[in-house]
C-alpha cells in the first residue's frame, strides 16, 4: 500500500522542495500543489527507473559537497592561471582512463558530473560496460596522480554514500 502510494519517497520530497523554491513563497496552497505533483510524477515516471539507487549513508553527502566546493575554488584559480598566462600550445592536455570501483548508475553519474564541474577535468565517455570513465584534463604531467586523486577524493566518498 505504502509502496503504491509512494513509490519513490525521496523523489517526492525533492519535487515538493523544488516546487516551493520555484514559488519562492511558503504557503499551504503551494505545499498542497507541490505534494500533488510530487505524488503524481513518481507514479507516471516509474517505468524509467526500474532499479533505483539507494542512499546508504545520506549523512556523508554534506561532507562530499564541502570537499567538492573546496576543490572547485582551488582548481578554478589554477585553471584561471593556465588560461590567462600559459600559451595554449604548451598545455599538456590529454585523455586519461579512470577505472571505476563504483557499480550503481547513480553513483557513476554523480562522479562524472563532479569531474566535469571541477575545473581542469571533463568527463567525456564511459566504457561500454560502464566500468571505466574517459576523462579529458586540461594540463597534467602526471596522469596517474590525477586518477589517484579522483579515486581517493571523490570515488571513495561516493562509495560510502551510495554503496
Amino acid at each position: 500500500m505504502m509502496n503504491r502510494l509512494l513509490p519513490h519517497p525521496s523523489l517526492t520530497v525533492m519535487i515538493v522542495l523544488v516546487w516551493l523554491l520555484l514559488a519562492n513563497d511558503f504557503s499551504i496552497g503551494h505545499l498542497v500543489l507541490g505534494l500533488i505533483i510530487g505524488l503524481l510524477v513518481p507514479r507516471f515516471t516509474g517505468v524509467y527507473w526500474p532499479d533505483r539507487g539507494r542512499l546508504r549513508n545520506p549523512r556523508a553527502i554534506l561532507g562530499y559537497l564541502l570537499v567538492v566546493a573546496w576543490d572547485i575554488c582551488v582548481s578554478n584559480i589554477q585553471v584561471a592561471y593556465l588560461v590567462l598566462f600559459r600559451r595554449a600550445d604548451t598545455l599538456r592536455s590529454r585523455f586519461v582512463t579512470v577505472p571505476l570501483d563504483l557499480r550503481t548508475h547513480d553513483a557513476i553519474a554523480v562522479l562524472a558530473g563532479t569531474i566535469t564541474m571541477t575545473p581542469g577535468t571533463v568527463s567525456a565517455d564511459t566504457s561500454a560496460d560502464g566500468r571505466s570513465l574517459l576523462v579529458h584534463c586540461l594540463d597534467t604531467d602526471d596522469p596517474d596522480a590525477l586518477v589517484a586523486q579522483i579515486k581517493d577524493r571523490y570515488e571513495r566518498r561516493l562509495k560510502e554514500i551510495f554503496e
Binding site: V83, D125, A128
Partner: protein, 136 residues
C-alpha cells in the same frame, strides 16, 4: 552594517564576474573543442556560484526578503552543465578521427560507449573482436 554587507556582495559579484570572464577567454583562446569545453564548465561553477551567493546575500540583508531562487539556479546548472558537456564531448569524439586516435584504452574488454553497444552491468562483458578501446 549596510556598508559591510554591500562590500561583501560587491566582492562576491566581482569575483564571479572575473571567473566568468576567464571562462569566456578560455573558450575563445583554447585551440580545440575538448580544451574549449573546460572554459564554460569552469565558469558555471565558481563564476555563477559567487554571483548567485552575492545575489542571495543582497536580497537577504539589503533588498528585503529572503530569495531562494538562486539555490534552484545552482541546482539546475549543476544538473545540466555536465550532461551537455558530456554530449558535446561524445559528439566530438564521434566526428573527429584524430581525437579517436588519441583515446586511451578502456582497460576493459569492451571499447568506449560512443563506439560500442553498452552492455548491462552485472552481466559478462560482450566480447568484441576489436577490443583495444579504440574504434576499429
Amino acid at each position: 552594517m549596510t556598508f559591510i554587507g554591500e562590500l561583501i556582495v560587491s566582492v562576491l559579484i566581482l569575483t564571479g564576474t572575473f571567473f566568468l570572464l576567464v571562462g569566456s577567454i578560455g573558450l575563445a583562446k583554447l585551440p580545440d573543442i575538448m580544451r574549449r569545453l573546460h572554459g564554460p564548465t569552469k565558469s558555471t561553477t565558481l563564476g555563477i556560484g559567487a554571483t548567485l551567493i552575492g545575489s542571495m546575500l543582497y536580497f537577504a540583508f539589503i533588498g528585503g526578503g529572503l530569495s531562494l531562487h538562486e539555490v534552484l539556479i545552482t541546482l539546475f546548472l549543476f544538473l545540466t552543465a555536465p550532461v551537455s558537456a558530456y554530449m558535446i564531448a561524445k559528439a566530438h569524439i564521434l566526428r573527429s578521427g584524430s581525437t579517436q586516435a588519441s583515446l586511451p584504452a578502456t582497460g576493459r574488454k569492451t571499447g568506449w560507449a560512443t563506439f560500442h553497444r553498452p552492455v548491462p552491468t552485472g552481466k559478462p562483458a560482450h566480447r568484441d573482436p576489436g577490443t583495444s578501446g579504440k574504434a576499429t
